[in-house]
Symmetry: D2
Subunit: 461 residues, 4 copies
């Protein structure tokens, strides 16, 4: 690590060199040659944008456009060095440095990102239309290579989901839940960004410190398209980059020994429906993963609305696995402690690994991204005469399409051309969807400029 040269731009460091320590500390000549040649495999633009997001770690933003605009002259180059590899950063954001030296966690994340992107490049490709076990294997290999799997501290990983833009009261509550988990020496795994992805980590870090527990882990799992909009928060210790959103979701459920869901927006709701589709598959009925939906007393209405929607659509039996706990961090943590013992028994009996839930069945439908179009949306089966697991999958696709219709320029253009998506289905289902989205809009949990014009029209039958 060499001291910095001052840049004319006072917000960046003109040039600085960094060297790998753990990941990539030992590359062969051929491997270095491939890295030095920027054009070799089209990886460079991805590396650059992920690097820029990581160098902004700890900065609260979800404006990736603004982030990139501000740092157009940022660049990174690779070279050989007696200690292996040298990366030179040009015009890197100053906030990543202390007295001209890169912060340790940012340094580590930089090389963790390279590690994952290079591994993904080198692994045999998964067939996009039939991902099957190969996709699960890839998820496993990325996690193993990141040294996130740990046989000694097994059954310790609590995955937390929830919005990146929750309010102050909800954030403070997520910190308290994190502290209750940290006092019980749990590790936290989240999607890496701010809000409900950060609060539990901060709290757990404090809980670990009160227990003099130095082995706590804070795992952030992201993917290239998300990281720029949600740079790693300042608590993430282990950063893992999955190739796409579906593998990121699969990673969450396979390493979780407990799952806690805080309030959030449409994105969080998609995740819940993804989970419902899995838990209701007949093969997974025995799986004892504890799942808790929780928030502060001030969010009671929202939590009830979430819960009601699920009961109304999937039925109370299908949602039995989702426990609702309001404003009680100790009870949430206690539920995770109980659940862990059930998991231990179940895995032992199934001869499944403690550190990766191989037994859980995830259908190919859930491993393949849903591509929204007027046709696809219109042909979604949104009736009650199907198993809960299928209905949950279809509802997840519905929400996914609505998110795209709200934010993705290409979809928005199609809607302007052809009118809103027409959605057909059981009227009671349709009204439940309508009510939920209205609430998310009213509570400003959906990304929007000005008033919200729905991108869909419900056609009841």
């Amino acid at each position: 690590m060499t001291p910095d040269l001052l840049s004319p731009n006072q917000h960046t460091i003109l040039e600085t060199a960094v060297h790998p320590r753990n990941h990539l500390a030992f590359l062969s000549q051929a491997e270095i040659d491939r890295l030095i040649d920027r054009n070799a495999d089209g990886l460079y633009p991805l590396i650059r944008s992920c690097a820029l997001a990581i160098l902004n770690s700890g900065v609260n933003t979800d404006d990736s456009v603004g982030l990139f605009a501000k740092h157009q002259d940022f660049d990174l180059t690779f070279a050989r060095h007696p200690r292996g590899l040298r990366i030179t950063l040009h015009h890197a954001p100053k906030q990543a440095f202390v007295d001209g030296v890169l912060m340790e966690t940012i340094h580590d994340m930089l090389f963790a990102m390279l590690r994952d992107l290079l591994l993904i490049r080198d692994l045999v490709t998964v067939r996009p239309d039939q991902p099957g076990i190969a996709a699960t294997d890839l998820v496993f290999q990325v996690l193993r290579n990141a040294k996130v799997l740990d046989a000694e501290r097994e059954l310790n990983t609590i995955v937390c989901w929830g919005g990146h833009a929750i309010n102050k009261v909800e954030y403070d509550y997520s910190v308290r839940v994190g502290e209750a988990l940290g006092l019980r020496r749990f590790d936290i795994c989240t999607g890496c960004g701010p809000g409900a992805m950060k609060g539990p980590m901060r709290g757990a870090a404090h809980g670990h410190r009160r227990q003099s527990w130095r082995h706590g882990r804070f795992i952030g799992i992201t993917e290239p398209g998300i990281i720029a909009a949600e740079p790693p928060n300042g608590v993430v210790g282990d950063l893992v980059i999955m190739p796409d959103i579906e593998k990121r979701l699969e990673a969450f459920v396979r390493i979780a020994h407990g799952l806690i869901i805080f309030p959030g927006g449409v994105g969080t709701f998609e995740e819940i429906l993804y989970l419902m589709a899995i838990l209701n598959a007949p093969h997974n009925h025995e799986d004892p993963l504890p799942v808790v939906l929780t928030g502060p007393v001030e969010s009671t209405d929202t939590l009830h609305a979430f819960h009601t929607f699920l009961v109304e659509t999937l039925g109370s039996k299908a949602t039995g696995r989702l426990e609702l706990i309001i404003d009680d961090p100790g009870a949430v943590a206690g539920r995770m402690v109980e659940g862990r013992e059930a998991i231990r028994r179940h895995r032992r009996q199934a001869e499944d690994a403690y550190f990766f839930n191989w037994t859980l069945a995830i259908e190919d439908h859930l491993k393949i991204p849903f591509t929204p179009s007027h046709e696809a949306m219109a042909s979604l089966n949104l009736h009650r005469d199907q198993p809960a697991t299928d209905l949950a999958q279809n509802l997840r696709a519905l929400f996914s399409g609505i998110v795209s219709g709200n934010v993705k320029p290409a979809i928005q253009a199609a809607i302007q051309r052809n009118g809103p998506f027409i959605i057909r289905g059981d009227p009671t289902l349709m009204h439940a969807v309508d009510r939920l989205l209205a609430r998310l809009v009213a509570e400003r949990r959906m990304k929007m400029q000005g008033g919200y014009t729905p991108c869909y029209r419900i056609q009841t039958e």
Copy 2:
């Protein structure tokens, strides 16, 4: 550590046993016998009240009366055990436990407290009227025994002073200063309580984590009379109990490699005057300890008022050592980095230890508690025709007397009998004192019920 029995009182644990791990792990039979016999040396009441304060660590309170009233049935007993010593806690506050097991840091502090109280009991007594080098030696021995001195990480200890009841903006600023220090791997030492004693520790803990720095220390130095009113905050890692206030102050200045003062009340001001008396002693002119007075931009007026008072009373030359930095955590931390190098050079030249400032002269006046009375107050020399070091000492005694007149029942009674303290001195000095106290009252930085009636009357000459 045995699991707990539920107490009828739901806020306490009926009975639980704890064992020492580091401190006191190895006691001889004679040492254990002395502990078991509660009446042996009158130590038991002190142990009990300190233990109760520690078991409330992390709870924000400065109401020691309330604390003790709430836990009248709390008790602790000692017994022999194959692994050395066993302490049984009866009706201990539930908040100190997680799932019935004492938190690690609270466990450690409990035995740290015993370690210090037993050591102090066994060390040869310092003559109260002529403390001299023996007092310094005792301070050193308590710190050494607590393993707070560290030759490897020397020159890393930043002492932070300031009020326990600062406002939210000032607290958040102290967290930011702490983070800037933590990013540079400094350790933090404070008086152990809330407010400006906690903020820098929290911030530094976050800074250390961002640097993956696992060796950070958070030293809290207190004394038996203070700890009950200011239980250790939840970040303190190393707790040290000095026998009295003067040795606590001496410990701060001898282990500091940098000293940062945040806004505070009369107590903080006493500390500043104590420091001014030391730094202005001719013997100490060469000592390069960096001293910074700092706060957020919102506290600019208060900081200027503090600074102005010192310049008006002691003169600008005498206050030259006190640097004022407003709202710039990076500059504060940078100043500590610079100062450290100067200290290294100075200690090497003086053949003084890196981990304890033996060279600094502290006069017996400053090692002896000031006992306020009408006579003592009336005879304080508060004129300008004396060296700055002496004037600082006398002003410190003045403030000490005023604090006692405000809060100590015995002194308050004497004032009711004999009228307010009469203070004589140079009118310009007296007016400076008056103005400063008026500001502290106005900003509610002094402890008081209702309006403030001064306990003193200035008699200008």
Copy 3:
């Protein structure tokens, strides 16, 4: 690790289960499936024989035939387990266990062996006739995967060569050299077996202990055909299995920061000639690797004979790199300290890695095994009118052929059919060869039953 069941055969343990801890702690389902299916890729016989050799670690033997005969009922099976993989050993040699539990180092070597054999299977095949850079890359990958490369402790690896059957005086001397190296915190790398491969490790372990040095490494590099005849000695800490003899030799010279040669037989001499061929290649003239030939004063004649042979055949200039130090462990270690600094400068200048000598050129001739036959032996160019590097290569092939003629049944049969190998070359070279072999026979440094009948006839021209 489960306790053992007593076997009817008192020298073995009937059945015991072991689990991986570091290597192979995390296998995917597909990887475990492939291991469980013994017939999948023909790897099982190799795994079994290596496992048996490792379970005899610490036993002094070079009789692999006897070893296998004694343990015909030894077997190992693989199964899935919540912590990953379980290996069950059947009829394992009792000497590997303490109170029914496998010794830690043997446990580790067992999984190191699996790690390497599985990696070698999965790596892309090197073309046998044009190994080139791909062979070097494979050597690098096996070492990296074994975590033998270390950027922090770089420039510390001393490779020791020499006979496995040296006499007691020579062994004791190798221990003393090892102690001198250990006192200077050097790591030792050898071929893993007894004699000169063990002595330096034992000595260095003692030296490390006297320096309270807990980070010392004892690397043994072997290959599947050798390990059974030379089970790892009891000091080896890191076991690495290369796919063949040539890659093992390449591994030695690429990770060495110093090379020490003790007395030995024809095998040691082959190694010396391999090294001479490399060091005399023009591309390698600048490489500063220190190379010392050393032994106790009692072995002076042998050492001089070795040296004389090299000077007579390759010339004094070509052997200038080989330093002869007799009976002075301190001087040998001192030479390694000096050489290390030269290497550091050279690598920095060449931008080559500290932990792997990429710059050293090794020709394909040296990477391809020499297959002896009457034709091949007859056509060896053994004249002086060629560069030293080529002559060294040809002499190495000559010695390799003689070794095979001495011990390999197939070659011995061919010789019985067709008469001894006919060797043609410069008479002075031929006589030097003759003299050297006579000495090795006289000193019983060659493996033989009864008197020695040469398998070759020199035909001078």
Copy 4:
């Protein structure tokens, strides 16, 4: 640590400075002042001779006179330093250094010695004629201060006794016993010197390495009068210096969780009788300490002779606690494993510490040195009509007197003046003594020049 200046005397280092790291890293000014003033408390000559012995650690010698004669110009001086204390060594033996820097273990032992001598000086004096519990307390405090007591690894300490001049076969056997203990992760504690004090340590170090066990301890307990004749062997890791021989013996039996006795001379026999006196005291009948007398098959006669003497004098019941195991290291180690469990139960029941046997009663007779004179020897009660514990004490005094008569100049002069000691007692006891001593003489296990002239005459009654 500064590099050395070459001394004109090639066997010593002219001048070198060392600094404390653990022990004595933090001394107060008063403590340093007292050390710098060499004449303060007459400690300097003791420090110098112990330092010289330690600097010869690893050298095999029992000739303290020769050692001191060779190093008359050796000297050490103390000074203040920013890191605490600096010791300058003048003309220190070169063998303690590697490339001009003191070996780590020797460095540590140097400061361990200072630590113990300073502590002993500062502890309250034990009354020489009534040592009582105060002596035990002092033993405890020295061990605690040396950090030799360990609550985590308790019940692991095997004490080995035996001669410093045993033959090669016996030494090799003691190494094998040590390896069997080390493979079971036992720590070894001995008297610190060569022979049976070194062999078990070497073996255990190898056993620990095979188990990848990095926490093994090798504790050497000595006293100022012995260390010069028996410098610490090269394996000792923790050196402890007790104030006198009796406290050294007490330390051995109080920290032992198992005791193994190898062959030795009169000194070893004194130790056995000391142990017999303790084990036969009625108060100690329940104590389950395992005690094994062992040696190689070649020493069978000697071991039987030892055992026979004890049975003939003390009776078979009194010697029942001493188990004889011939040539079976595994059985010896197995016996220690068993005994440990008995100790664990016993200590738990007695509420005694795992790491120090407080319960064991040791009478004042055994804590007070026996001063031999013609009167004292003549009045020893050597009859059978007394409890075994008393007879063992008296026999121990008898052997102690004989050792003094053999080697101490003052006693030898008294014998020349007044004739040999007259010993009176039961004839069968006297003949047993005679036979045993004759064997020790014949096997050259007693220190003597030329033939042996007994210093005593038996007067049977």
